[in-house]
């Protein structure tokens, strides 16, 4: 086994960690008889800048570091963490977490095997270390472009944030994985005003990229124009309809449908506990045969990608739904062991203060064969939704929502007037059975998605090709066709 210095360079250099220390901490964690223990070391540095009224009003930087200790005994998990990386404090955390078990120590730890991982985001210079003046320039360019776009654009805010997360995961099963995870994003938000009317538009993007990403095709001008365009469009939006109708989702960010409708429901922890509406449906039809849905943590530079997950396991591409049939769940070490399934490398956590659990990475539907124009043309009366805000799901009854921020009416096969933002609501286990057309234009989102679960936020990606859902409830206000009752 090579010297630890080759492996955990970062934590050796900053904290003088040696392999025997790691063994000692794990031994303390297992001192009360736990089956498995792991240590998650994290050192996170971050920068955030924001521009408002054409001024850089806020600039901040910070560092947070700590170590989380987990001990698993049967189905039980003990967890403790410390933001002080001295031996004393880590040992104290280890002994606290150890108390989940109550037996003599039975597991010992000798040596580690380094995880062979991909290199999905090999940035030469992490953006956190890049010149801050270049980040300021991004915001100034965005501000200038948005304001110049149209005189009705009155308020512009632009923000930029980046981070570099260095992690080291070691476990009693010999896992030894290190990663250095860059993440950067920028957002532009505009308010357009006319006499007595206002509207907001927003756009943003990023990924596990270096600063030069924002000097390429997805530059400040791109996001600024997009935000301004959306704000102006909303000025003229009319009331959205209410009730069930045909819905066409545009490619990219509307993939949040998959994230809410099926992604969460397929996280293994909910299925182990049989609290998900998808529990027991493996091998069953949950979507039309045009639908194949995957979660893929191995896409280079993507916001949802990881070389290794937060348990030190390499990420992978996992088929969730294949031609409409439910194939598998997203798992972490605990659910894999308890359910007797493979670990898909989806064990993630927000920080060292949090217990890992199964989470999505980049979740998307593979392209189909339909021409997007034919999809629109096939709709008599419906909604075409191309941009979305957030969504939410109740995994137990399967009901999910997602909110359109840019949408249009489709009438007689033609896209007509823009409509106001509306929430769409459906039932996870059957919404995909109503997908009758799948476009050949798969696209992923621009890279600003964050997913929350049990109070833990992690960066994710979503994507779909253009999709037609035959029936979905649209939550507008417009009095609609006869048939629905109104009083």
């Amino acid at each position: 086994m090579e010297n630890i210095k080759d492996k955990a360079r970062f934590f050796v250099e900053h904290y003088g960690l040696a392999e025997r220390d790691l063994e000692r901490y794990l031994a303390a964690a297992l001192s009360a008889g736990g089956d498995y223990a792991d240590l998650y070391f994290e050192y996170l540095s971050s920068t955030a800048l924001s521009m408002d009224e054409s001024m850089i009003k806020s600039a901040s930087q910070g560092i947070s570091a700590g170590c989380g200790v987990r001990v698993v005994s049967g189905e039980r998990t003990g967890y403790a963490y410390t933001d002080d990386l001295s031996s004393d404090r880590i040992l104290h955390a280890a002994r606290t977490a150890a108390l989940i078990a109550s037996a003599p120590a039975k597991t010992t730890v000798h040596g580690f095997q380094q995880t062979q991982a991909r290199s999905l985001y090999p940035v030469a210079l992490p953006s956190v270390d890049a010149e801050i003046s270049a980040k300021v320039e991004l915001l100034m360019r965005a501000d200038k472009t948005a304001r110049a776009y149209d005189p009705r654009i009155k308020e512009v805010r632009a923000s930029y944030a980046d981070e570099l997360r260095n992690i080291l995961v070691v476990a009693s099963d010999g896992t030894f994985a290190e990663d250095s995870q860059p993440l950067a994003r920028m957002n532009v938000s505009c308010i357009a005003k006319t006499d007595g009317n206002s509207a907001r538009g927003g756009a943003g993007g990023g990924g596990r990229v270096a600063l030069d990403f924002f000097f390429g095709e997805k530059n400040p001008e791109f996001f600024a124009k997009e935000a301004a365009r959306q704000a102006l469009l909303q000025l003229d939006a009319r009331e959205a309809p209410a009730g069930e109708m045909e819905v066409v989702l545009g490619p990219g960010w509307p993939g949040v449908l998959l994230h809410e409708a099926v992604g969460h429901g397929l996280e293994a922890d909910f299925n182990r506990k049989k609290t998900s509406a998808f529990a027991g449906l493996i091998g069953k039809r949950v979507a039309s045969e045009k639908c194949t849905v995957v979660d893929n943590g191995t896409m280079p530079w993507r916001r949802g990608s990881l070389n290794v997950d937060d348990e030190g396991e390499p990420t992978q591409e996992t088929v969730l739904i294949e031609k409409g049939i439910l194939k598998g769940y997203l798992s972490d070490k605990l659910s894999a062991r308890l359910m007797g399934i493979a670990d898909t490398g989806n064990g993630r956590r927000e920080s060292y203060e949090h217990i890992p659990m199964p989470r999505m990475t980049n979740t998307y539907m593979l392209a189909g064969e339909d021409n997007p124009e034919d999809i629109i043309r096939s709709v008599k009366h419906g909604v075409y939704a191309v941009n979305f805000g957030g969504g939410q799901v109740d995994i137990t009854n399967g009901k999910f929502v997602f909110s359109a921020s840019e949408a249009y009416m489709i009438e007689d096969g033609q896209i007509t007037a823009p409509i106001k933002g509306a929430t769409l609501i459906g039932n996870g286990p059957d919404v995909l059975t109503r997908v009758s057309m799948v476009g050949n234009d798969l696209k992923l989102d621009e890279g600003v998605g964050t997913c929350g679960k049990d109070g833990q936020a992690v960066p994710v990606g979503v994507g779909i090709p253009t999709l037609k859902v035959d029936r979905l409830t649209v939550g507008g206000t417009a009095r609609k066709d006869p048939g629905g009752f109104m009083q």
């Binding site: 955030a48 403790a80 109550s102 308010i191 109740d394 909110s403 933002g421 509306a422």
Partner: protein, 460 residues
């Protein structure tokens, strides 16, 4: 099973000393003003599922942030590293970073005469949240879950019962010589049962009790039973036809209406014109029956503190009185921008510019009981849960996923789900036709049961 967990040794270092040192070192480094915030906290949580301990977590952490000004330029940095080198680096980066920010004529810390803190004990901290022995904490979680499971045979599964306790200590210092600190405690017990129908369809709901002292926490059995009742009543939920009917908001969701008002009248939204309520000071924005108060001074309150995020004593502010917008909620910066006085609502994390947060923020209750409020409704929706956001404060557009119970002839009848509730906040605030008497604080924001007319319920 653990019987006792080790408790974290109390920190010896004087955090007030660290905060004042950082401020004075910032000033020696050339800053014209500086603020420092230090936070430390401990947390304990346990989850019991189907009678077995599933997770047990116990830890503490602390962190520090500094904000420096060079004239009208400001920047901030933070760290979790309290070593000499860690603090040096934090301070040095702040002083460097301030060079790249813009001169903002409205920036700055409050003037010395505005600073201060409420005297007397606000009753925010009780050590007893940690007084239960480890085994009893687990037992609280177990009892809550068991009560839920025992309520009815249709409660067949559970996401568990939980017990949480936490304490937080906050220190704030600035270059006018302000130094203040306070501690707050919190404990809660919750249950999340799952009910199942004969056809296999599942429903989940929850209930919890939260308090600053263990002595005010509801019995776990009561929490579990209410959680079960709320879950059972959802079984067999169905969609309804699209309709425009009266909608009654359960107190668990009526707070969301207050949150939308807050989003619309906080200084940040107002000065940016990012709210349809901007510029409406002194005007009617809601019906005569609507009075909204923000009060950070209520003893024991979940939103109480002796001073705000900038060191200004908290106060009581009438936000809306009989439908008229009487005051925005402001911090120092947004008050200056709008030519007004701060309402001591500065809220801050470790870094960045201070934001705006509510104190104890509530809708004044009305005279009727919730039952009387249903009484006059022939067909209507009682919403118990919203899904998703779907609210645009710039335009007032409002469209949310919902579930609840259908009201027929004044009575709650069958459960409904997979529906939307939509309208526009501009009208919605005027259409709060009834406000019930059942105001109860379960957090910093509280509202009684309310009835709102004119909303569209979207379904089949």
């Amino acid at each position: 099973m653990p019987t006792e967990l080790e408790t974290r040794p109390k920190l010896e270092t004087d955090l007030k000393q660290i905060a004042t040192d950082i401020v004075s070192r910032a000033m020696k480094g050339g800053a014209t003003a500086a603020e420092c915030v230090v936070r430390e906290g401990d947390e304990f949580s346990t989850l019991v599922r189907l009678g077995q301990v599933e997770t047990l977590k116990e830890s503490g952490s602390k962190s520090i942030g500094v904000r420096v000004f060079f004239g009208q330029r400001a920047a901030s940095t933070y760290s979790s590293d309290f070593s000499r080198e860690g603090l040096d680096r934090m301070l040095k980066s702040a002083l460097e970073l301030a060079k790249i920010t813009s001169e903002d004529p409205f920036s700055g810390i409050p003037s010395a005469d505005q600073l201060g803190q409420l005297s007397g004990d606000l009753d925010l901290y009780h050590e007893d949240v940690y007084s239960l022995p480890g085994a009893d904490r687990i037992d609280y979680a177990r009892r809550a879950e068991k009560a839920a499971l025992d309520t009815d045979p249709r409660i067949k599964n559970s996401e568990g019962g939980s017990f949480d306790a936490a304490t937080g200590h906050k220190v704030f210092a600035n270059s006018h010589g302000f130094i203040g600190e306070y501690s707050r405690s919190y404990c809660s017990v919750a249950a999340v049962p799952i009910a199942q129908n004969e056809d296999g369809a599942m429903q989940r709901d929850y209930w919890f009790s939260v308090a600053r002292t263990l002595s005010k926490l509801d019995a776990p059995e009561k929490v579990g039973r209410i959680a079960a009742e709320r879950t059972l009543r959802r079984l067999g939920a169905r969609k309804v036809k699209t309709a425009r009917v009266p909608v009654v908001f359960d107190p668990m969701v009526s707070t969301s209406i207050l949150e939308h008002i807050f989003e619309g009248i906080n200084g940040d939204s107002v000065y940016r014109g990012a709210s349809f309520l901007a510029g409406k000071l002194g005007q009617k924005i809601a019906g005569d029956n609507v009075t909204v108060i923000d009060d950070g001074t209520i003893p024991g309150g979940f939103g109480s503190s002796p001073f705000d995020g900038e060191g200004i004593p908290t106060r009581r502010t009438v936000v809306i009185e009989n439908g008229v917008l009487k005051s925005y909620l402001l911090n120092t910066y947004t008050a200056k921008k709008l030519g007004l006085q701060t309402t001591a609502n500065a809220a801050r994390g470790l870094a960045g510019t201070p934001g705006i947060g509510p104190g104890n923020y509530f809708l004044q209750p009305g005279p009727k009981s919730p039952k009387e409020l249903f009484g006059g409704i022939k067909d209507g929706l009682y919403v118990t849960e919203f899904l998703g956001q779907g609210v645009n404060l710039v335009t007032g557009d409002y469209s949310r996923g919902a579930s609840g119970l259908w009201i027929s002839n004044g009575e709650l009848t069958f459960p409904v789900e997979e529906i939307t509730v939509a309208g526009n906040l501009k009208d919605l605030f005027f259409n709060i036709s009834e406000i019930a008497s059942d105001l109860e604080f379960r957090g910093a924001v509280a509202a009684p049961t309310i009835r709102i007319d004119g909303l569209t319920v979207g379904g089949e």
